[in-house]
Structure formats: C-alpha cells, structure tokens
C-alpha cells in the first residue's frame, strides 16, 4: 500500500475523525504527546519502575542501616530475613544495601553514557546530514566501521585499550552509541534539508548554524527522544555486561553485573545472591523499554499498529 492509498483509507475511518478532533483540542504537539503517553498503561508502568529505582538510589542511606562495603563475616550467605531483606552475600554484605547503592551506579552510567553519545552523535549527524558531500562521506564511513562491530565487542575493545574501570566502561558505552544517534539524526536531516521551510530560511539569509539548531534540530527531535530513552536501557545492560566480565566497575563497588559475577559460584548454595541483582537489571531495562515504546507511539502515530 503506498502513501496516498493509506491516507485515503484512513480518511474514511472513524478513528481518524476522532484523532482529528483530538488534534484540534490539543494546544501543542508536546501537550498532545504527554496526553497520549498518559493514556498508555505500559508507559506508565515503565515510569513507575524507573522512578522507584531513582528514589531507591537517592535515598539508599535512609533505607538501610548497613554500608555497601560493610562485611559481617559470621552472617555469610544468609537467606532473606527481617534484618537482611534480600539476604547476604559470600562476605556477609547486605544484598539489599548493595542493590540500592547499585541503582545509583547503573542509573548514572546510563545517564552519562547516553548523554555523551547523544551530544556527539547529534552533532556529527547534523554536520554530516546538513553539509553532505565529503564531510558526510567521512563521517558516515566512520559510523559504518563502528557499526561493523557487534557493539559490546567494540566496548570490550575500548576498555581493553583504556583499562578496566567503571569510568572507562562508561566512556566505551558512550562511544559505541555515537554512531547510532549519528545515523538517526543524519537520515532525519537529509529528509528535512530539501523541505521548503529550510529553503525559505536560507532565502532569508539565515546562517547555517541558525538553520541547523533552530529549524532542523527541533524537527528531528521525536526519533532522538525515543532513541535516547531506549538507549538508557541498553547502556545499563552493556554496563552490567562489562561489569560481569570484570571490565567495568571494580570491587567493592556494588555494580549489579559485578555482583552477579562475584556470586556465580554460590548459585546452588545461595540463589538469592543472583536473583536480586539480575532482576533489578531486567526491571530497569524493561522500564526504559516501556517508556521508549510508549513515546514512539505517542510521537509517531504512524508507527502504531
């Protein structure tokens, strides 16, 4: 079905009439998005999950009487109880405490890695898409090369160069995400570049910088926002994977992936040491995925099925 046909078939549908009515009521596209998002139950669940983890991370010192490094050797591998909600690990550290402080680490890594990738990716994407020709050639080829590696492998390569630490893992994750944002922005810019309103702006004598940041960027925001949200999830997953391989956070930092790696040998003896950290990684990633999917539906109604 080509575009015209689709539009025609939509025009006759009652759903579209309803949608048009809504559009008239909406005052701005952002308000419209927020309203659509609030109607989406899955996205709401996602928000609740993420906000819960943010609060747990923020108020970790108030939620638990223990420190994340505090070892009580006679309390090793204790199952969940009233004193230790999620049990203790092999050196007698309270798992709930480590999970709560771990939320800080994971969310921060996700935030900083994605923000870094977002800034550089958007910048390179804008430059490549707007100026085209050899600039585009070079930037696009570099993106191609980076995307030719399975992403976690490239992250491993970068950490192998920089040395294993949480900070270097964060840098590696930011770098592997740059081409993802870059390509997205570039393709959006290329489709916008030929639009009449850009031509009009140029005819008014507007400078390139102003056209890029005041006209092209705001119009490319929707896919960037969706990718950013989904990016938080994958960044946290990658950070946990690097931590698990011993290439991310180093002991005694309570990073969730590292916690899993450290407790591997006790899987049969004390399964609770492995269930909680893994479940938390999954929940956070799920939360961001739910919000991301919801945003996509809200920002781009055509993607809905």
């Amino acid at each position: 079905m080509n575009n015209e046909e689709r539009q025609e078939s939509q025009l006759s549908s009652p759903a579209l009439a309803l949608q048009m009515e809504e559009e008239i009521r909406a005052t701005s596209p952002w308000k419209d998005t927020v309203r659509q998002l609030r109607k989406n139950k899955f996205a709401l669940i996602g928000f609740i999950i993420i906000i819960t983890f943010i609060l747990v991370g923020l108020f970790a010192p108030l939620l638990t009487p223990y420190g994340y490094e505090q070892q009580v050797l006679q309390d090793r591998l204790k199952p969940p109880s009233a004193e230790h909600w999620l049990g203790t690990d092999d050196v007698g550290r309270d798992i709930f405490t480590r999970i709560a402080y771990g939320a800080r680490i994971s969310l921060q890594v996700g935030f900083f890695a994605v923000t870094g990738a977002l800034i550089f990716g958007t910048l390179f994407g804008l430059i490549a898409g707007y100026f085209g020709r050899w600039v585009d050639m070079i930037i696009s080829r570099i993106f191609d090369i980076m995307l030719a590696f399975p992403s976690i492998l490239l992250a491993i390569a970068i950490v192998a160069i920089l040395g294993a630490s949480l900070q270097n893992a964060l840098i590696a994750i930011a770098i592997i995400n740059i081409p993802i944002f870059g390509r997205l922005v570039r393709s959006k810019v290329i489709s916008l570049r030929e639009e009449e309103f850009i031509l009009a702006a140029r005819a008014q004598g507007m400078k390139n910088g102003r056209i890029i940041f005041h006209h092209i960027l705001p119009n490319s925001l929707a896919p960037i926002i969706v990718q950013t949200t989904l990016g938080f999830g994958t960044a946290i997953l990658d950070a946990a994977a690097l931590g698990f391989l011993g290439l991310g956070a180093q002991p005694p930092l309570p990073e969730w992936g590292k916690m899993l790696a450290d407790s591997r040998d006790f899987i049969q003896l004390a399964p609770w040491t492995l269930i909680a950290p893994g479940l938390c990684i999954m929940l956070v990633v799920l939360g961001f995925n739910l919000i991301g999917d919801g945003l996509r539906d809200a920002l781009d109604p055509r993607m809905k099925n």
């Binding site: 080829r141 090369i145 590696f149 391989l245 290439l247 992936g257 899987i267 990633v285």
Partner: protein, 333 residues
C-alpha cells in the same frame, strides 16, 4: 543485480580497512608502553625489550600498520602470548564452536520468534497474543548473562536435565573433524555422541537466542498485521483459500523482508552476546577465547579474536543485503 553486488563489495573495502585500524589500535593506543602493560609491573627491562622487538613495537606506527595488514592478507593473525602458537593455527576450533552455538541460537530465535509473531497477529488480542508479547517484552529486557545463570541453576543444577558446561562430555570427548560437533558426530554416525552434543547446545542456545527471538516475534507480529490488511491478501481470501495457507504461503513472504533485516542486525547481538554466554557455559568458542585473553592480557589474541568476529558480522550483513533482492525481486538498487 550484478552491478549492485559489485558496488556492495567495493563498499566493504573501507569498512574492512577501518576495522583493522581499530583492532590495530587496541595494542597501540594503550597509554604508556604496550609491552609494559602486557608483561605487568614486575617485568624486567630485558623482557620488555624482547617483547617489543618480537611484536615489532619499535617501528613507526605507519610501518607497523603496514606490516599488520600485510600479515593479515597473508593469513597471519599474530602469535598468542600465552600458548606461543600462531593464532591462525589454534583459532579454528573456537570459531567452529561459536558458529555452532550462534547457528542454533538463531534457529531457536527465528523458529520460535516467527511462529509466535504469526500466531499473535493471527489471533490478535487473544490470551496467546498478550502472553507472547509479554514474554517478548521481558525477552528484550533480560540480561543474557543472567538468563544463562538462571538456566544453569534451574535446568542443569536443580533439575539436571541438561549439562551446564562445555560442548562435550570431557571424559568421553568427541573426535573432531570439522569441529562442528553436530556434523562431526553425524559423519561418524555416532548418534549417542550427537545427542550429547545437542544436549550441550540447548541451554546456551536458548540463553543467547532469547533477545533476537523476542525482537523477531515483535517485528513479525507488527509486519504481519500490516500485510494481512493489504489488498492482495483480501484477493487470496476472496478466492477461498484457508487461513493457514494465506498466512504461511502468501502473507509470510512479504512479512519476511523487515524480519530479515532484523535477523541480519541481530547476528551482531548474537556474536556479542556469545562472549557472555560462552563465558558462563564454559563454551570453548571465540568469545571465551577473547575473555581468557583479556584476563591474560594476551593482546594479539584479543586483537585477532575481535577482528574475526567483526569480519564474520560484516559478511553476514553482506549476505543479508544480497538476499533481499532474491527474496523480494521488487527491491531494486
């Protein structure tokens, strides 16, 4: 078609060169002296000197890179610092191990993913649809390594259904011919060993295949829903074809195109995930090879291992791109 194939092949050259530049940098961008890093803090001056010489680290970067490329073109992947053997000679069993694992993971992902997606679209909003999409949602969010650990705990240690480690029974090793153990045992007609090999594959394949399975299921569902509304499906239906035939013969063909893209992209996820899965299941594949090399600071192995995986990934994407035109002759380049 031919001109497209040639153009697509030419485009590979800068990508492959760029890849070698990155793997080359793994050793040469290490801050300070690479030889010092590799040998550790307590290395003697003489040991550092000799390693620098054997790895050619004294030459200029340009010359080193040139020699690196020249070596690669002659099939020289360097020498492992740990085993002192040429990497080219010892890497094949690992590659075969990873291939076998990713192949079965992909079979699992495609078979389960496509069928779950089809049934979900067919019975839209049924309990199956909700359940399948819920599982798919969990599937895209679950960390591979955690899923692997949980599988190991439940199905290997608690229930004892499948082995938790390796590719074979170590007390009764499989005689290797191609190092694809399923094929090797088939050639030998040794079916008990074949069952052993397959049993070892079950848990790691499912762990590795879950994320692609979930993504393929979601993709198949949404494209199927779109295709099922198209005119030609209405025509087929008007002809009186049964639902099964409509879906599997007519609709699936068109729904497969975006799914194929996803399959191509997911191979990267699989190859990356293989490092984690292989580490957990002690699977002697290339991921495990790299992981051990990282712990041993065996940089030539890290370099070549990463290069080999990236090369495989690029080749698979090439095949997927060329397959498009075969599956859908309407696609012209």
């Amino acid at each position: 078609m031919l001109s497209y194939t040639i153009r697509r092949l030419l485009m590979l050259i800068p990508v492959l060169l760029g890849m070698t530049l990155i793997t080359f940098s793994i050793v040469h961008l290490i801050p300070g002296s690479p030889a010092q890093t590799i040998l550790g803090q307590n290395a003697t001056e003489a040991a550092i000197k000799s390693l620098e010489e054997s790895m050619g680290l004294n030459e200029s970067y340009f010359k080193q890179y040139f020699l690196y490329i020249k070596g690669l073109l002659q099939g020289d992947l360097g020498t492992s610092l740990k085993s002192k053997a040429p990497i080219v000679k010892e890497i094949w069993p690992y590659i075969a191990g990873t291939f076998e694992l990713t192949f079965f993971a992909m079979v699992f992902a495609v078979f389960v993913g496509v069928n779950a997606g089809i049934i979900s679209a067919w019975k839209q909003n049924s309990w199956f649809d909700f359940l399948a999409m819920f599982v798919a949602l969990i599937g895209v969010s679950i960390p591979v390594f955690w899923l692997a650990l949980m599988e190991q705990w439940i199905f290997a240690q608690e229930l004892g259904w499948f082995p938790a480690h390796g590719r074979q029974n170590n007390r009764d090793p499989i005689e290797a011919i191609t190092y694809f153990y399923v094929i090797d045992t088939f050639i030998k007609m040794d079916f008990t060993q074949m069952v052993t090999a397959l049993k070892h594959l079950v848990l790691p394949s499912i762990a590795l295949g879950t994320i692609p399975m979930a993504i393929i299921a979601r993709m198949t569902r949404s494209t199927m829903l779109e295709v099922m509304q198209s005119d030609y499906i209405r025509t087929v239906r008007a002809k009186g074809s049964g639902q099964f035939l409509i879906i599997y013969k007519h609709a699936l063909k068109n729904a497969m195109i975006p799914v194929l893209t996803v399959i191509g992209l997911q191979t990267g996820v699989l190859l990356g995930g293989a490092i984690l899965t292989e580490t957990i299941f002690s699977w002697p594949g290339i991921g495990r090879y790299i992981f051990d090399a990282i712990n041993y600071r065996d940089y030539p192995v890290i370099q070549s291992g990463i290069l080999v995986i990236a090369f495989i990934f690029v080749m698979i994407n090439l095949i997927v791109d060329l397959l498009y035109t075969y599956i859908d002759p309407r696609i012209k380049y």
